[in-house]
């Protein structure tokens, strides 16, 4: 058992948590699955960068440019270390969505170029008769890019279904077959909280020669993840959900895959030589980082990773596991409340979705907001998952290292108050 978190001390590092909302209610922030709050260490690191070393990276020969490049690359190393990767295999993106699109565009670009006679790794050439496999619990960011790929190439989109408990239907794993070119699966669902057996799915992808992709947006911020161990070819996640600034995300790739993939965004800094007629490209990760990058944001994210490491990912995971158990127990006791997603505290993260009989999630969220409790309501960018459970939307609580049981209590009291107010108690 890792060391227990000192939540009151941690909260002091997050200035926003001291503010009040609505009629002077203390803020209870239970929306970290959407985006996390930022500790002072992250804000200080960004500011210090701008005030001392700001310059374009990888381009200038002056001292500021050297310092900026070092700061940027040091951040890359820190992040690589955090997920057990080599620096060279970490690509900075603007968010996780860009990383997942980068993956999907490798196939459409590869297909287009191959059609025009360019030599392309056949793994990235798709067409009618080929299939792409996702799940029914994907965030839109890991669904629509693949729908678009299929719309552009004639490949077929397949998905692994979700059972009533919010778990993937293992009997659907067989959808991954010889026709499959890509398998892209969420590690931990942002709506159901389910932690999926991605190692198993990635092994199956490998066995049929498909490229395996994991959306780790909701896992990497909350538990210790070794990206290499997942057995995937590519792993995408966001910086802003792990205490980092907005405007930065990450894509990890196996060296060999990053080398084989065609580039995505093209322009400055990703080239080797350029003629008017044609160009050649730098090795990864530069190949995928066109233009002036998110330098200050990378520096901020580097500080975030150091902060998380200081607190300890094992401690954070234990803390959130306990909180999740507490929240599940409290919510189960409320009459009229139904959890959408796993109700047992096994292989699940801290995002808990629920519906209240007779109440629309928007109205639940509104009453909570009025009491200072910030939760998210809606389809959580996983609309098909809502349809699967025949609910138009859900209310979702999600925690992080700065939450404790008093936050859960505040939410539970708010739900009861909403039931009373709307007369459905």
């Amino acid at each position: 058992m890792a060391a227990r978190l000192d939540v009151p001390r941690i909260r002091k590092d997050f200035p926003i948590l001291a503010r009040t909302v609505r009629d002077d209610r203390p803020l209870v922030y239970l929306d970290s699955a959407a985006t996390s709050q930022k500790p002072t260490a992250v804000l200080d690191a960004e500011r210090a960068f701008y005030e001392t070393s700001n310059a374009a990276v990888h381009r200038g020969a002056h001292q500021l440019a050297e310092e900026a490049t070092d700061a940027y690359e040091d951040a890359r190393s820190a992040i690589a270390g955090f997920v057990g990767a080599r620096s060279e295999d970490i690509v900075f993106t603007k968010n996780a969505t860009e990383g997942l699109n980068l993956a999907a565009y490798a196939f459409s670009n590869g297909t287009d170029k191959s059609r025009q006679g360019h030599s392309i790794d056949p793994r990235f050439v798709v067409g009618p008769g080929d299939s792409i496999v996702v799940t029914e619990m994907e965030h839109h960011a890991n669904l629509i890019p693949w729908q678009e790929l299929c719309a552009k190439t004639g490949a077929e989109l397949r998905w692994i279904g979700v059972d009533d408990d919010g778990r993937l239907r293992r009997e659907d794993f067989g959808l991954i077959d010889a026709t499959t070119k890509a398998v892209s699966v969420v590690h931990q669902s942002n709506i159901l909280g389910t932690l999926n057996p991605v190692e198993e799915i990635m092994a199956q992808a490998r066995s049929v020669g498909a490229v395996g992709i994991v959306d780790a947006c909701q896992s990497i911020p909350h538990m210790s993840v070794d990206v290499v161990d997942l057995g995937a070819d590519l792993v995408a996640w966001s910086g802003h959900k792990m205490l980092g600034p907005t405007g930065i995300g990450l894509l990890w790739g196996r060296t060999e895959i990053l080398e084989a993939m065609p580039p995505f965004l093209t322009g400055g800094s990703m080239i080797e030589t350029v003629f008017m007629e044609s160009s050649t490209f730098a090795p990864p990760p530069q190949k995928f980082e066109a233009g002036v990058p998110m330098v200050a944001q990378a520096v901020g994210l580097g500080a975030a990773v150091r902060y998380l490491e200081d607190v300890g990912m094992a401690s954070i995971a234990d803390h959130e596991h306990e909180l999740t158990g507490y929240a599940l127990a409290q919510l189960s006791q409320l009459p009229g409340v139904r959890i959408i997603g796993p109700t047992d505290n096994v292989d699940r993260g801290s995002a808990i979705s629920f519906v209240v009989d007779g109440l629309h999630p928007h109205d639940v969220g509104q009453v909570l907001d009025d009491r200072g409790v910030a939760v998210r309501v809606g389809h959580h960018c996983a609309w098909p998952t809502c349809r699967r459970f025949a609910v138009p939307a859900t209310t979702r609580l999600s925690t992080y290292l700065y939450n404790d049981t008093t936050d859960i209590d505040a939410a539970v009291e708010g739900i009861v108050a909403a039931q009373e107010f709307f007369g459905v108690a």
């Binding site: 629309h360 928007h362 809606g378």
Partner: protein, 153 residues
């Protein structure tokens, strides 16, 4: 409950939510529109028709939060059987009310129970909910070729 949330959910709104007036599809509508709020998945379908005597008829079906459902009910009450000119007035007044940031003094003559939505205008995320049925009405009547400007001339 704070006064804020009570001003949002006025009794009239809750009453319309629990006892929706005039709900149900309009048989033989000459224009129909399905609108969704992409943020939360609220949906409403509004059908509209203009009879020979120049009166408007509406029907609606939908699912969503108290605000969008109550708004549909109020809309139906205001528009069903109204003249084109009165519908136009109500539509304009409601849209204006929603953009007032909560500082308007709405005209009960024109908006009827719609005046109760004044508190909604303080909550940006809920304005969309309240406007949803009205957007559907607007779209449906355009499809039906019912133009407000002519009506008022």
């Amino acid at each position: 409950m704070s006064s804020n949330v009570e001003s949002l959910y006025q009794e009239i709104i809750l009453d319309h939510y629990k006892h929706p007036r005039g709900s149900g599809a309009l048989a033989g509508a000459s224009g129909e529109s399905h609108q969704v709020n992409p943020t939360c998945g609220d949906e409403v379908t509004v059908g509209v028709d203009l009879d020979e005597s120049g009166h408007v008829h509406v029907g609606y079906e939908g699912q969503g939060c108290s605000i969008s459902q109550a708004s549909a009910s109020v809309m139906s009450e205001l528009v069903e059987g109204a003249t084109l000119a009165d519908m136009a007035k109500a539509e304009r007044a409601f849209v204006e009310l929603m953009h007032s940031k909560g500082n308007a003094e709405p005209d009960e003559e024109v908006l009827g129970d719609g005046v109760a939505f004044v508190g909604v205008a303080k909550y940006p995320a809920r304005i969309k909910c309240a406007l949803l049925p009205w957007m559907a009405l607007q779209d449906a009547r355009l499809k039906a070729g019912i133009e407000i400007d002519k009506a008022e001339g």
